[in-house]
Symmetry: C2
Subunit: 248 residues, 2 copies
């Protein structure tokens, strides 16, 4: 629960890295000023738990940098990841006082938090925030449904290829690192986290990654650094349309 206030970046919304993608994307200058008054930053270390399912939650917020996961756990310990939170993604639900899922930082993480009650008041008064939140929630619902197809119907190999595609696509969108030599990115998840994401065991994840490497679909440098020489090949392996465009 460290609330470090000596962060290396500005606290000014205007030059926030997620200014135009987060829940505040549509806010006007005066609305941002109000948000500034109810916001605060929190930092978490890789591996740290942000909040436990069932805990009282008196804030909502956005991921500023780093990656967090939403997971559900059964009594006997089986776990399933149900959300992967990237910068600009929103955490928490207005109108709910307890967390519904475990939230864990998988890398070092910075969150921009808003005290819940004032945030709810603002949502009721200014339509821009509610509109943006609706849009983001609909996007997440689409992502969840895509994911349901992966979990319910794809083979282990297709699941891995699907996950790699998603990460590659996101990285390409953010960093435009799609050189002529293929797409290059780092896996932000351990094998175990990937297994929890995909409804597999970590052994199966490891085996399928090895198989994709052996078959030349991907190349590995270390455990985490991945090169995809032919993106359409990867999409084909994922069972998605390999038609292309800039990654469909």
């Amino acid at each position: 629960m460290l609330t470090d206030r000596s962060l290396s970046f500005s606290h000014d919304c205007e030059d926030c890295p997620i200014r135009h993608r987060a829940v505040c994307a549509r806010c006007e200058a005066d609305e941002l000023e109000r948000l500034e008054q109810i916001k605060y930053y929190r930092k978490f270390q890789a591996g740290q738990t942000v909040i436990w399912s069932g805990d009282r939650m008196d804030f909502v917020g956005s991921v500023v940098s780093g990656i967090a996961t939403l997971t559900q756990t059964m009594e006997d310990g089986r776990t399933q990841m149900v959300g992967l939170l990237l910068p600009s993604d929103f955490v928490g639900r207005p109108g709910r006082s307890a967390a519904a899922y475990d939230v864990t930082a998988t890398t070092d993480l910075v969150m921009c938090c808003f005290r819940k009650t004032p945030f709810e008041d603002m949502m009721n008064q200014t339509p821009h925030i509610a509109q943006r939140l609706l849009e983001m929630t609909l996007d997440e619902l689409d992502a969840a449904r895509e994911w349901m197809l992966v979990l319910g119907r794809k083979t282990a190999r297709e699941k891995i290829a699907s996950l790699l595609s998603i990460i590659a696509r996101r990285d390409a969108a953010a960093n435009a690192q799609s050189t002529t030599l293929g797409v290059v990115f780092d896996l932000p998840l351990t094998r175990e986290a990937m297994a929890d994401y995909l409804g597999l065991t970590l052994e199966t994840v490891s085996r399928q990654i090895s198989a994709l490497r052996k078959d030349g679909v991907i190349a590995l440098d270390g455990k985490r650094h991945v090169t995809v020489p032919d993106m359409s090949r990867l999409l084909e392996e994922a069972g998605d349309d390999a038609d292309g465009g800039v990654f469909a």
Copy 2:
């Protein structure tokens, strides 16, 4: 595409069966009047397709009665259900012109449709609709995440028990048919649809239902009529907390 206007129920929003649960739940009388002007009813027969994924969609709407499903299909024919639409559930996404999923009526179905552009205009002008839609979308996202745990981590037996619990809970909420003799309801889905819901084959669904019957967890009268003598037992089989309350 039959658009029967001789329906057996009133077209007046005030005595609509889903008046207080649908996207219009929070609307005032004057707002309802505006909605009346852009709405129309459509009926579909059991088995009929409401809309195909990718089709142009110039309406959004609510399920008034009956049940519909949202499904995704891969090129090779594997399908996964990604949504089960019950009365009051919303179909379509404001700001999107093509359907993202196949929508199919599994029973006879009545929908209350709104022409998309006027509906979007109304959403921007009256916060009540957008607020309610956000709430409903957040609920659907929670349901989707619950479902992801089912798809990713539960055994076939647990999957069936989970689905039966969900249907039983919904029926109990709607009809309060939880007599002292246990909970009684009809399955609104074929074995095949249940399989698509749960990421199983229809043979496995059939076998697991037989097994639950043999073990006394449920009783069957015909293929579809189900009695659950002990709800907490069923919840236990589903791998959920069997703690109870009126079905947790």
